[in-house]
């Protein structure tokens, strides 16, 4: 019997790694992947809780998160592609003309 804390801590660590990815990577795609990792970490926590609480609603939530993530990814990748067409780079640090 694994205490639920373990899962939660694991998810927290994964989440933190995801956050770190967003912050330290310049590649828009990797940033995007890191965000997916964050969502994934959250999902893990929900499923763990769901398992403890013996309810489906958590799993349903995770299901929606995955679906929404898919939608987001579609739009996100489209944006990245579009930007690459113009700038020939997906370095987010290159996208800093708007500032101040």
């Amino acid at each position: 019997m694994i205490p639920v804390e373990y899962y939660i801590v694991l998810s927290a660590i994964l989440f933190a790694i995801g956050v770190a990815g967003v912050l330290i990577r310049r590649n828009a795609l990797i940033i995007f992947m890191s965000i997916e990792l964050m969502l994934n970490a959250a999902n893990l926590a929900v499923v763990a809780f769901s398992s403890v609480l013996k309810t489906f609603s958590g799993q349903v939530f995770v299901f929606f998160v995955i679906a929404v993530a898919a939608a987001e990814v579609a739009v996100g990748l489209a944006l990245i592609v579009e930007i690459f067409k113009a700038k020939h780079s997906i370095d987010v640090d290159q996208m800093s003309s708007l500032k101040g």
Partner: protein, 174 residues
């Protein structure tokens, strides 16, 4: 140490390692592959936690569809690597510091203060039956009908959005 725990620890190690792999790979393709591995590991967790449907969804949607899409885009753009520039010298140390603080804070809060009680079900417990899967489906289409429908709209919107973003208008230069 029980078998459960050993399994958990190994998987956890793999999950963290793959996540870190994604984080630190220079090559975007490797990052994506690490992430796929990570997703799969998490899917195994889902199975362990008695959520086979979610585990399947995870593998098909996430690891399968989404990550393939990622890889596809990476290849398409040929943007595996970025030239090394360092316009934000303080970003990296600051980010790492803050992330570490975040991890420490949340660990501290979760383990010593919040202490979510209870243990997860052992693998193979009664939720993992077809009946339960059916029950879940019923929930999804009864109680969660609204979010379900809205999600469908959302997907439609995303589709429209993508088309808007990528479609080239007549007479428009790229």
């Amino acid at each position: 140490m029980t078998l459960d725990l050993a399994l958990f620890l190994i998987l956890a190690l793999v999950a963290v390692a793959t996540a870190l792999g994604m984080l630190f790979s220079k090559n975007a393709v490797y990052s994506a592959l690490f992430l796929v591995l990570n997703f799969v590991t998490v899917a195994v967790f889902y199975l362990l936690l008695g959520a086979p449907f979610i585990a399947m969804a995870q593998i098909t949607v996430y690891a399968g569809a989404i990550m393939v899409l990622f890889l596809f885009v990476i290849m398409l753009l040929g943007a595996e690597r970025l030239p090394a520039t360092n316009v934000l010298p303080w970003q990296r140390p600051l980010a790492i510091t803050l992330t570490v603080i975040l991890a420490m804070e949340s660990t501290y809060l979760l383990l010593s203060r919040a202490r979510p009680s209870g243990s997860v079900l052992p693998p193979g417990a009664e939720v993992n039956t077809v009946d339960n899967l059916r029950a879940m489906a019923m929930t999804l289409f009864n109680n969660y009908l609204l979010p379900f429908e809205v999600t469908s709209v959302l997907l439609l919107v995303a589709m429209v959005g993508v088309i808007v973003l990528v479609r080239r208008e007549k007479g428009q230069k790229s």
